[in-house]
């Protein structure tokens, strides 16, 4: 392997020897695709006819008036087929799977959005599909489990470790080291061994390319700030990469959970608790103890509840190019309510982190300024969590009635 995918001191490829040949093959297929103009054309064709690209940007007029600061624009990744940005990456990798002649795909999922996107791609391209999902996430994102199964995927609940996203990634790797002859591992975020961080960011860069063009077309100027939530970092890499060469402040928002002092969060870059380590095939900031054992993370949003973070983002933070912040569950639920009430938009709890941070800062900006928020996905999957958070009595009655029907 020649290029081992380093970004400053982060990244690399720390994998069992058995996977080296497979990953080398993937690097080759990806490089060939990147250099083949027909590949991107095919990708764009799929994304504009099967998903909903280009997704629009929406002017949030009521929220703008409410805060009285900068003008708020929202990039609508929730309007993608399957309801999140995850499909951008998945369809790209799906085309690579076809090129490599493999017949089965596996994936990890936290929020279930990446799992649903992968199951969808597998249905369309005729691949067998297995999705690994932590048992905790299976319970809190049950609607997505239902759809993955309807789409023909096998969903394997992971009962090992902390039973969330990182543990699902470990299990997917354990599958892959056995099955790589016919199986591709569709990693869902800009993490893991090279070439995944680069490859996932490459497919997600479509978000930033479009957003930059759209805001310039509509407003004739760039935003002063761009906000994105950061789980593994794929939607953030996607939208930020459109603005790397511009005088635009980029703000990555991590899960503050119950607060940074509570120890119950997933703020690897925004808190002082993260430290550099090597796990899941790459080097980055992890939430780990002094022995190097990974800690349990926590967030109301399953998709942000992850112990590591993209090595590309870790490097950009060290360079000072991206600012990282964290918002708490409480702030996120408030931002979610305000957004649904004022704009009729339903952000995923992950995406609502970006909204919450923007709302905290927006009044400081001038009315002439523009901020752009990436709505990475829609919140339908969070129906149970949100119903509980707001103690929705009508919903509760309905669920009870439904349960009685099933019991009968």
């Amino acid at each position: 392997m020649i290029n081992r995918g380093y970004y400053g001191k982060f990244g690399g490829a720390f994998m069992p020897e058995i996977l080296t040949a497979t990953v080398d093959e993937l690097v080759k297929a990806f490089e060939a695709a990147k250099n083949d103009p027909s590949f991107w054309k095919e990708y764009m064709y799929i994304m504009s006819t099967y998903s909903c690209r280009p997704t629009p940007i929406t002017f949030a007029e009521n929220l703008t008036r409410h805060f009285g600061g900068a003008r708020i624009y929202i990039k609508r990744e929730d309007l993608n087929h399957t309801g999140a940005h995850k499909v951008n990456n998945v369809m790209g990798q799906g085309l690579l799977v076809k090129r490599m002649g493999k017949t089965r795909v596996i994936a990890e999922t936290g929020a279930g959005q990446h799992g649903v996107a992968t199951a969808t791609m597998a249905a369309k391209y005729g691949f067998k599909c297995t999705i690994y999902m932590g048992e905790v996430d299976v319970a809190r994102q049950r609607p997505n489990v239902f759809w993955m199964e309807r789409l023909g995927a096998e969903v394997v609940p992971v009962r090992k470790g902390t039973r969330i996203l990182k543990d699902a990634i470990n299990e997917a790797f354990r599958d892959w080291v056995t099955s790589m002859d016919d199986t591709h591992y569709v990693l869902g975020t800009a993490c893991g061994p090279h070439p995944f961080p680069e490859m996932v960011s490459y497919f997600q860069s479509i978000i930033g390319k479009e957003a930059r063009r759209q805001i310039l077309e509509q407003k004739g100027k760039l935003p002063v700030r761009v906000y994105a939530c950061v789980g593994g970092g794929s939607n953030a890499m996607g939208i930020f990469s459109g603005f790397f060469n511009d005088p635009v402040e980029l703000v990555g928002v991590e899960a503050g959970g119950k607060g940074l002092d509570s120890g119950r969060h997933a703020a690897r870059l925004a808190s002082k608790k993260g430290s550099v380590g090597v796990a899941q095939g790459y080097k980055t900031y992890f939430l780990q103890d002094s022995d190097g054992q990974m800690k349990e993370t926590y967030s109301v949003a399953a998709g942000l509840d992850y112990v590591g973070v993209s090595p590309i983002l870790a490097s950009l933070r060290e360079e000072g190019r991206i600012r990282f912040e964290a918002t708490t569950d409480r702030e996120v639920l408030d931002a979610f309510s305000l957004t649904i009430e004022k704009e009729g938009l339903v952000p995923a709890l992950e995406s609502a982190h970006a909204f919450a941070q923007a709302f905290k800062e927006i009044s400081d900006l001038s009315k002439d300024d523009i901020v752009l928020i990436n709505q990475s996905g829609r919140g339908d999957k969070d129906i149970f969590t949100i119903a509980d958070a707001f103690a929705d009595q009508n919903w509760r009655k309905f669920i009870k009635k439904k349960a009685e029907e099933y019991r009968a």
Binding site: R4, A13, E17, I18, G161, T178, Q280, G292, Q293
Partner: protein
Amino acid sequence: MLETYLRKRLEKKNILLMTHIVLGYPSFEDCFRIIQAMVAAGVDLMELQIPFSEPIADGSVILHANQKALANGVTIQGCLDFVQKVTHAFDIPFLIMSYYNIFFRYGVRDFVSAMSQRGLQGAIIPDLPPEEGKDYFNAMREHKLAPIFIYSPTTPDQRMKYIASFARGFIYCVARKGVTGKTTSFSGALTKYLARCRKATNLPLALGFGVKEKADIDYLEGKADIAVVGTQTIRIMENEGIASVGDFILNLR
């Protein structure tokens, strides 16, 4: 030097036996008794696994042992203290097996130095390919410890030679795809693979993953220099108790 020891041993035995335990599982006291039984039963060398929260190359049995050990509060310092006792008490080579983050977090140079001070002879790190291992094998060379590297059936000939150029002691040949603890078929494909390994290096060859009974080891005689028994001893211990481990090892040869 580890290789010299192995070669000497191989003058008397057709194949050597390396066993594996997870430190602190089920407890350090039990680990000590298991090592005692293994050494008495004629094990030639042992790998001592420092538990890690994300053991990506391990199957469910060893994974469970890692998690149990950590849940019991096993620390690196605890492992190093224990290892010190073990290398004093027993006269066979001991190696550390763990994942790279354990070394990295401690500081690679400091960790290697700590291994050396405690009389360890080498280390196996399944998630550290030679490309990422510069600090590690420099430190290992300085302390005259053996960095054991891994071959797999998917490793091309050219890469086997490349890997061998960093390795000392022996090469750990993984028998098949997959994680530890699954079944291996001891058949023609394995023979061919081991012949390929043999051609790529002059170092002794260890064969691990799925070795669990006498027939497997008989099969490996003349094809590999060391048979590695990992998961199976943990299974025996869990199912039949620590007292059965010694007999199990005795019956392997």
